[in-house]
Amino acid sequence: MMEPSVWAVDFAAQFREKVVAFRRSSPSIQAPCYRFSVMPEEWGGVAAEAARAGLRWSGLWAEDQNNRIDLTVVLEKDGVYLLVQTRTADDSPSIASHGLYYPAADRSERRLADLFGIAFRDQADSRRWIRHQAWTELETPLRKTYPRSGRDETSTRADSGYPFLGAQGTGVCEIPVGPIHAGIIEPGHFRFQAVGEMILNLEARLGYVHKGIEKIAEGRDPEGLARLAGRVSGDATVAHTWAACMAMEHAAGIEISTRALALRAILAERERIINHLGDIGAICGDVGFAFGQYQFGRLRERCLRLNAELFGHRLMMDTIVPGGVYSDLPSEGGHRLLEEGIELRQELEELSVILDENPSLQDRWSTTGILTTEAARMLGVLGYVARASGVDFDVRRDAPYAPYDTLKVHVPVAMEGDVAARVRVRQEEIDVALDLIDELVSVLPAGSCRMPWSVPASDAEGLGCVEGWRGEHLTYVRFGPDNTIARFYPRDPSVLNWPALERLIIGNIVPDFPVCNKSLNGSYSGHDL
């Protein structure tokens, strides 16, 4: 087997003259992970070289260090993660944009510009992104000087005057949708330009549920951060909490018991199952196939009830805590999980025949909302969205973390990239998750399920990387003094998946937007933070 780290060393070697430090950063950062720092003037060159070497752009965050901004970009190839860092020179930083080489970087950079006041040079799009009208252009909420409590305001100004892209011509009409929608979903604004029913362009405007998660994380204790992480996006609470706990445990140098790891994986796989079930049902509902909607909804509800019974919460919120899991699986729990797995498989088998053999349903899903493999790679999309477009990546298999390092994870992939492919991949992922749960339950190790916490050193940092149901979660944590959090950044997979919606919808008809959107199902809250 080829040493997977070769490319990372080679890559760093190109910057040898300019590299400040290069180290295999274990144990503070997750194991197959390298990091090096460059001078700020090399920042643009990093992206150029990374793009040339075929690295995937995975995330970007910043941190205020006494008015100098530390920037960290995460790149990945063959399951090896590379963190490249730089520190800007002064307190009005200007740095090269990565957007030229990585379109995926665009929104993260605009976000940092809004929150830190960083000016990105040669940015294709320099409009504000996360900033609506709650703070002014001159304010930088994530700098240390900005009060954590925020400003004392009774009301927030409405967001107006955002310069949307326009389209002109005979028969072109503009359709504004949202931010408040008729269904019980999160807020987001979508601006369509359409000719008749044909969509020419779609522009999403997100940020309506910006809660200042990163800011309010500062100063929390580890348990408080785990609870906060569980509320970044309610439907991915397990994945976010796991990623945050993993980062904190790496920072503190704590080894988790094998039993706790297995239980975490069971929770994560169950989260995958309930969300896939709910979404497949909703995708049926969006094309008017109520039967599928109610049947999948029924199955999801069954799983939720078993969750409440076994884990104390329907969505398994706060079940993962720093050092392990909150409570052990009840003695009959393993048996109940296996039993439910058998019944669920039977029901799903019947339902999948009904879905597959319904031509009116397949007619709506096939060739609708195609995301090509090329576009998926370019945008760096994650999870089932990527896998339905032929991008074969799954953290559980390609950069395995415990307990997946000892399990064989089958990763379903489809090439078509349409709604039907995304539904099919998700159907298969349910089967894989059920198999994994069976395996985890049957060889569940004995032992305690929660390790005592040890206070990490000040400045200890950690990275958590978890394959949630939406895809790769990347969470960075740095501790300050006295067991408090100095910096927390959870990169939800939705950050990279949302731009795919704007691309795959082009050329589709307006009434197919809801089903395309649902087949992607990005988290508004996870994106807005």
């Binding site: 009409c173 503009e174 359709i175 504004p176 949708v177 929608h181 008729a182 269904g183 029913e197 049926c284 969006d286 094309v287 008017g288 196939f289 109520a290 039967f291 109610y294 049947q295 319904n358 009116s360 349903l361 007619d363 709506r364 008809i509 307006v510 009434p511 197919d512 937007f513 809801p514």
Partner: protein
């Protein structure tokens, strides 16, 4: 032609029964759909409760709403009530039958649609405009098919009056007319499209971008919404009764006797209940079709109705 006062009273009664039982039919369709989807259903009288709730709620008007928006619910309901008055529900040869023929009936339906589409445009929201434009696309294709079906029946009975046509069909006994088989299939497809049912429109959706009928009335609330909902329910019943009357006319009262009237009520109830079961099965088994497939669907309906007309001319007139 002079009618006795009892006939007028009966005609009035029949119309009242028609508009009063329209929500019941919708409640029944909902129950059937729920049964096909393995779920618990709301009670049969739920549509009445919904209407009652809406009537009690206050009306909220968009700032841009003109008189047109406010008048439309009344115009639409009036058009549907008039259309309902023309259709024999439990008895034929009533005085209201003479008011209008089937072509005017199609006109009443078009009048209601025209005003709802205008109201959708009136308030100036994107969804209203989308809904109106889609509704016009659907109806421009559905109306010719509907007229074609009407012509087939009129040619068979040599009258455009519905009551006269039904009388003729009842008297000619059980004759299997190829033209009617085609026309029945075509008219059912038109009915599905025009009353906003699956697979053309999804009345249960909350997704604004996919709406046709619901899109136009998205800004209506309270009493106005109740009137429009009621009108939609009557419209749905008009199509159902038309299909039941023309293709299965047996059982309807031809004379005003208590026994015949009772049998008329029972007959139409059974026929509508069975039609609703058919609709519920179709609606549960099909996803909503893509919007650009709707013209294909309605073209097929038109083709079937045209085949009906042709087969009438070729096969039936010559005999």
């Amino acid at each position: 032609m002079a009618y006795p006062l009892t006939a007028w009273a009966l005609a009035l009664l029949q119309t009242l029964l028609f508009i009063a039982s329209a929500p019941l039919l919708c409640g029944w369709v909902k129950r059937v759909r729920c049964a096909f989807q393995n779920r618990a259903s709301p009670p049969l009288w739920q549509p009445y409760r919904d209407l009652g709730k809406l009537f009690r709620k206050s009306v909220i008007l968009a700032e841009e709403a003109s008189w047109l928006f406010r008048a439309t619910p009344y115009i639409v309901l009036a058009a549907m009530v008039l259309a309902a008055a023309v259709i024999p529900l439990i008895a034929v040869n009533l005085p209201t039958d003479a008011i209008a023929d089937v072509i005017v009936l199609v006109g009443f339906l078009a009048l209601g649609r025209f005003f709802i589409a205008l109201a959708g445009l009136d308030i100036g929201t994107a969804f209203g405009g989308i809904g109106s434009s889609r509704e016009m696309m659907v109806s421009s294709l559905a109306e010719p098919a509907m007229l074609m079906a009407v012509f087939t029946i009129s040619m068979t009975a040599s009258s455009t009056n519905l009551s006269t046509a039904m009388h003729y069909l009842l008297q000619s006994g059980l004759v299997l007319r190829p033209s009617f088989v085609f026309t029945a299939a075509g008219l059912m497809m038109v009915a599905v499209a025009e009353s906003g049912r699956l697979p053309v429109d999804n009345p249960a959706t909350h997704l604004e971008l996919t709406m046709i009928h619901e899109g136009m009335i998205l800004e209506y609330s309270g009493r106005h919404l109740a009137l429009i909902e009621w009108a939609s329910e009557i419209k749905f019943m008009i199509y159902a009764v038309l299909i039941a009357d023309i293709f299965l006319p047996w059982g309807i009262a031809t004379r005003v006797t208590p026994w015949e009237l009772l049998s008329g009520v029972v007959a139409i109830t059974v026929k509508l209940a069975l039609l609703a079961v058919l609709l519920g099965a179709v609606e549960s088994g099909l996803a909503k079709m893509r919007l650009f497939r709707v013209p294909e669907f309605l073209n097929l309906a038109f083709l079937l109705c045209l085949l009906g007309l042709l087969s009438h001319i070729i096969l039936e007139v010559a005999i």
